[in-house]
Symmetry: C2
Subunit: 339 residues, 2 copies
C-alpha cells in the first residue's frame, strides 16, 4: 500500500502509454482506441488516480468554479436561491464558491477580490449598486459577473431578477384601492441596498398615482430581523394619526410587526393591515397568514446558473431576464375602516 498520490505519469507508466494518451483518454474518451482506453481506465482505477486540481487549472486556465456573494445565507430568500443556483451549477459541472457581505459594500468588495483571487471563472452578485471601480476590476481580470435579485430596465448590466419597484407598486395600488390612505413602510436599510430603495419608490409612486401625498408616508428604516420589525411597528403604533396599512420591506420584518400587534392587542387585519414581501415559509405559517409579494427565488438561482454556465462553456453572452412576481393575498389585509 503506497502512500503517494498518483499522477498522470504513474497512470501512463502503469498502462504502458504516454501521458498525452492518458490525458486525452480522460478528457476525450472517443479520441482514443477502445483497447487503450480500457487499459488506461483500468490503470486509473487500480491506482485511484484523481487529476491534480492545481495542475489542471494551470494548464486550462479554468477552475470550473463559480463564486457567489450574497448578503447572508441566514436570510432564507438567499439560501433558497443559492441552493437552486448550486444545484443547477452541478448539472453543468461547476462548483459553487460562497462568500457573504453582511449587506456591507466594503466587505462585498473585499470578497469579490477574494473570489477572483481564488480563481472563480465567473461571479454572481446581488443587486446593481456598487462602486464603479469594482466593475472595472472585474473587467480587467476578465471575470464576468451577473447580477441577480434585481431587474432594472434602465441598466445595461446583465441581470436576472424582478422589478422591485414595480412589484411593490402593484401591491400598494391594490391596498390603496381597498381604501387605505394612511400608509407606513418598515424598510430594510436603503443606504446600499438598491432593492430596498426600489420597493420604497414603488410605494411612493403608487401614492402619487392615486393622488395621495407621498410625503405623508410614514417611513421607518431598520435592520433585518423579527425583533427589529417589532420595534419599528411599536413606533408606528405610538403615532398620533396611526396608519391603517403597514408595508414591510420583507416578510421577516412583517412577522415582527405581526408579533408586536398581537402583543399590543391590536387586531390584524381588522384594525390595521400588514403586508410583507418575499413569501418565504414564515409568511404562510404566521398567524394570521401574511399577505405578501411572491418572488421566484429558486427560478432566479436556476436561471442565473444556466446563464453563467452557458457563458463559460459556450461563450454565450449574458442576457438580462426579467421574472414576474405575484401578489399573494392571505389574511393580514382588509379594507380600510373609515371613521
Amino acid at each position: 500500500m503506497s502512500n503517494e498520490i498518483p499522477t498522470l505519469h504513474d497512470v501512463a507508466f502503469s498502462a504502458n502509454v504516454s501521458t498525452a494518451t492518458v490525458s486525452r483518454c480522460l478528457n476525450f474518451p472517443d479520441k482514443v482506441s477502445e483497447k487503450t482506453r480500457r487499459r488506461v481506465f483500468a490503470a486509473v482505477n487500480k491506482l485511484g488516480y484523481l487529476p491534480n486540481f492545481g495542475a489542471k487549472v494551470m494548464a486550462t486556465k479554468r477552475t470550473n468554479t463559480i463564486g457567489a456573494i450574497i448578503p447572508t445565507m441566514e436570510n432564507s430568500i438567499f439560501a433558497r436561491g443559492l441552493q437552486a443556483f448550486q444545484e443547477e451549477l452541478l448539472v453543468h459541472g461547476f462548483t459553487l464558491l460562497v462568500a457573504s457581505s453582511s449587506y456591507r459594500p466594503d466587505i462585498e468588495e473585499e470578497q469579490i477580490k477574494a473570489l477572483v483571487a481564488r480563481g472563480a471563472d465567473a461571479l454572481l452578485l446581488i443587486g446593481y449598486e456598487r462602486n464603479l471601480e469594482v466593475y472595472r476590476f472585474l473587467q480587467n481580470q476578465g471575470v464576468p459577473a451577473l447580477t441577480a435579485w434585481a431587474f432594472n430596465s434602465s441598466s445595461e448590466r446583465p441581470s436576472i431578477g424582478f422589478d422591485n419597484r414595480e412589484a411593490m407598486y402593484q401591491m400598494a395600488i391594490k391596498v390603496i384601492d381597498m381604501g387605505h390612505k394612511r400608509l407606513a413602510l418598515i424598510s430594510a436599510q436603503t443606504g446600499s441596498n438598491d432593492r430596498a430603495k426600489a420597493r420604497y419608490q414603488g410605494i411612493l409612486d403608487a401614492m402619487s398615482e392615486r393622488a395621495l401625498d407621498a410625503a405623508d408616508l410614514c417611513f421607518i428604516e431598520t435592520s433585518y430581523g423579527i425583533e427589529e420589525g417589532a420595534l419599528a411597528f411599536d413606533k408606528i403604533l405610538s403615532l398620533p394619526n396611526r396608519p391603517t396599512a403597514v408595508f414591510c420591506g420583507n416578510d421577516v420584518l412583517a412577522v415582527g410587526a405581526l408579533r408586536s400587534a398581537r402583543k399590543s392587542g391590536i387586531n390584524v387585519p381588522e384594525e390595521i393591515s400588514i403586508i410583507g414581501f418575499d413569501d418565504i415559509e414564515l409568511a404562510q405559517v404566521a398567524y394570521p397568514a401574511l399577505t405578501t409579494v411572491q418572488v421566484p427565488h429558486r427560478e432566479m438561482g436556476r436561471l442565473a446558473a444556466q446563464a453563467l454556465a452557458d457563458l463559460i462553456k459556450n461563450g454565450a453572452e449574458l442576457k438580462s431576464i426579467r421574472l414576474e412576481t405575484k401578489l399573494i393575498f392571505r389574511e393580514t389585509v382588509a379594507p380600510a375602516v373609515d371613521y
Copy 2:
C-alpha cells in the same frame, strides 16, 4: 492600456528584480529590504498584479479552500451554521466551497469526490453515517474531514456537535413527567440520517426509563416540509387511541403539525401537546409559540471553522467538541389531561 494579465515575471521586470524576490516580497515582506520592497509594491500596484491561483496551488499544494457538504441550504439550521462557518473561515483566510446532498448518501458521496477534485484542503460533513469507503477515500487523498451536527461519544471520528439522543431524551423525560403517556413522533427519514435516528432513540429511552412501553410509541417517518408535517399529524389524529403529546424531529414538521391541528379545530396545547426540535425562527413565530430544543447552530459552524483552520495552518489535531442544547418551553406543551 494593455489587455494582458500581468505575471510575477512582469512585476519582476518592472521592479528590476528577480521573480524570486517578488515572490518573497509578497509572501514574506520582512525577508526583503525596505528599498526593494517599496519598488516591488509600486510595480504590483502599477500593473494591478494578482497572483495566479492555479500556479500558486500547484507550487504550494494548497488551495486555502474548505469544502462543506450539507443536506440543503433551504433548511435554515444548515444555512445558519454555514453562514457562521463561512464568516469564521474568512477570518482565517479560507474560502468556502459548498455542495449539497439533498439528504441522499449517493449524492453526498459524489459531492465529496467533486470537492476533493476541486482541491478542497479539508471537508466539513454532516453526521457520522456514511460508507466506510468514503472515509478511506478521504484518507487516501490526504483530505481531513470534520463531522458536525452530531456528537457521539462512542465514535472516534472527530466531530463538533451535540448529542441528539440525549437532547431528545431530556425533552421526552420532561414531557412524560407532565403526565403524558401516549406519545407520538413525527420523524425525518431515519434511513441515512443518524441525527434523526438518535432523536428517535432518545424518546424510546425516556419511555423505558419512565416505565412506559416503548413499543407503544406512535412513530411516523416523513420527509422534510411543513406540508409533510401536517399530513403526518392528520394521520395521528385519526388514530383510535390518540396520543396526548406529539414530538417532531424538527421545527418545520412541528409547524406543519400545528397548522393541521388548527385546521382540525384541535386546541394546542389544551387537547394535544406538540414539541419541535432546533429552535429556528419559525418556532417563536408560530402560534402558539413552539416548545422545542434549542441547538447552537452558529456556534457549531464557528467552532468547526476554527478547528479546520487550525488543522490546516498549524497542523493541530482535530478534537471532538460536545456542545450543549437547551429545552425551550413556550406555549405548545401542557400537562396531560387525564380521563
